[in-house]
């Protein structure tokens, strides 16, 4: 119970801080809209092509928005000393990590709340429940890994460089499987294929469970001195 109270306290603190400071989300929303507008001009978005290009644009924008969102998760707290203050409480590194990862997932979900409607408006992409489910399922695992690597990168001076180098390779499974699910949904095709692509939503859920467990176990070693 104490663990979950600490997790909730850390998450609420991060959300409250962002809502009052309004530093991250407005900037990310602007980034998302601008990236979509640029994509609209950069690619030849005729109706037949849009369905094939939109999934790629969606995952590219989401990936880079995620890097910005997670990059700030631990760095600011490390600099202000509040991360150490939290870690010196009996709440422990696992609860601190889980709380911050949960808040980061909420931030990314907020980005998606801007991204998906904007994708429909700017590129005319069809958005249905399967697209939303794919993106939300990917968010969980991406948040767990992104927060873990953000915590690791925050310990170094080259944190802006280190986070993409660490996170992007391990986000590839989410982009590949999620991309296939979104592509099928936007093309109005049934989900099919071989191996990982047979049931992409179930595979994304498996990835989430795997990376949540791995990140939770590794967080203690990353955050403790």
């Amino acid at each position: 119970m104490r663990f979950w109270n600490a997790v909730a306290a850390v998450t609420l603190k991060d959300l409250r801080t962002e809502l009052r400071g309004r530093e991250l989300l407005p900037a990310l929303a602007q980034f998302i809209v601008l990236a979509l507008v640029i994509s609209n001009f950069a690619f030849d978005m005729t109706p037949g092509i849009t369905v094939h290009l939109s999934p790629g644009v969606l995952w590219l924008v989401l990936t880079f928005a995620g890097l910005v969102a997670f990059g700030r998760t631990f760095a600011a707290e490390k600099e202000s000393g509040s991360l150490e203050a939290m870690l010196l409480t009996p709440a422990g590194p696992s609860a601190v990590f889980a709380g911050k990862a949960l808040a980061a997932a909420v931030f990314l979900a907020c980005c998606e709340a801007v991204l998906l409607p904007a994708l429909a408006v700017v590129l005319g992409s069809p958005i249905d429940a399967q697209v939303v489910a794919s993106v939300l399922l990917a968010t969980v695992g991406m948040a767990a890994l992104g927060s873990l690597f953000a915590a690791l990168a925050a310990q170094t001076r080259a944190r802006e460089l280190l986070l993409p180098v660490l996170a992007l390779p391990l986000w590839i499974p989410f982009v590949v499987v999620g991309g296939r699910a979104v592509q099928a949904a936007m093309a109005g095709q049934p989900i099919g294929g071989q191996g990982l692509f047979h049931q992409p939503l179930a595979v994304l859920l498996d990835f989430d469970i795997l990376f949540l467990v791995v990140a939770s176990l590794a967080a203690r070693f990353v955050l403790e001195d």
Partner: protein
């Protein structure tokens, strides 16, 4: 049982020995001033005592428990305030303390008491980012004692405190084992019964002798 017992305590950063080997014993309720020039190893020692860092060598026990192996258990009994206050500017003074009280498994009552103790009840709803430096320092002290620790480890907490703030410092030290790093000899003499002078990471004589301290600059 000693509150603090350190034997051959060493801390290294790369090839540089920042502290030690150092032996130190403190009884419960004893107050120690840690003195010395910049780079003498004061902060390094305090971070080890607060379990914020692991020693490179030697043994540190707090109330008979190994400070590395039992660090999580010991942290409920230690209050630490370092150079950085560890507060959230966007949260109010009360919200900052309530947040840390929750992490200690405590409720709003303890947070309100700590706020009262620090003399900040009047600015409880004001955001930390809007407080003066001295008020922030008091809030940092309130954070360090919100869980009523037995051992209080304070690293130059007097930097921005006025006379009233220094009286607060003396008040919160009462009944606790205290390790206080400071450059203020008057404050150290007023609050602490013992002193440790560090030079190059090692204990260096009796610091109450002012000649030595003057030589330290």
């Amino acid at each position: 049982m000693k509150a603090v017992s350190a034997r051959g305590l060493v801390q290294r950063f790369g090839a540089t020995v920042a502290l030690g080997p150092l032996d130190l014993e403190l009884d419960g309720g004893e107050r120690l001033a840690v003195l010395g020039g910049n780079g003498a190893g004061k902060t390094t020692l305090l971070r080890l005592l607060a379990t914020a860092a692991r020693p490179a060598a030697g043994r540190l026990e707090l109330w008979g428990l190994d400070a590395v192996r039992h660090r999580e258990r010991l942290r409920t009994r230690i209050g630490y305030l370092g150079h950085q206050l560890g507060l959230y500017p966007a949260l109010s003074a009360a919200e900052n303390l309530q947040f840390f009280a929750t992490l200690y498994g405590l409720g709003r009552t303890e947070a309100a008491e700590a706020l009262e103790l620090a003399g900040l009840a009047a600015v409880a709803t004001r955001r930390a980012g809007e407080l003066s430096r001295g008020q922030l320092q008091r809030l940092g002290l309130a954070r360090a004692v919100v869980h009523r620790p037995e051992l209080l480890v304070l690293d130059e907490p007097d930097a921005s405190l006025d006379a009233e703030g220094r009286a607060l410092l003396a008040r919160i030290a009462e009944g606790r084992t205290l390790v206080l790093a400071t450059h203020d000899l008057v404050l150290a003499r007023r609050i602490c019964g013992r002193a440790l002078l560090l030079r190059g990471g090692r204990a260096a004589g009796d610091p109450w002798r002012f000649r030595i301290l003057e030589a330290e600059g």
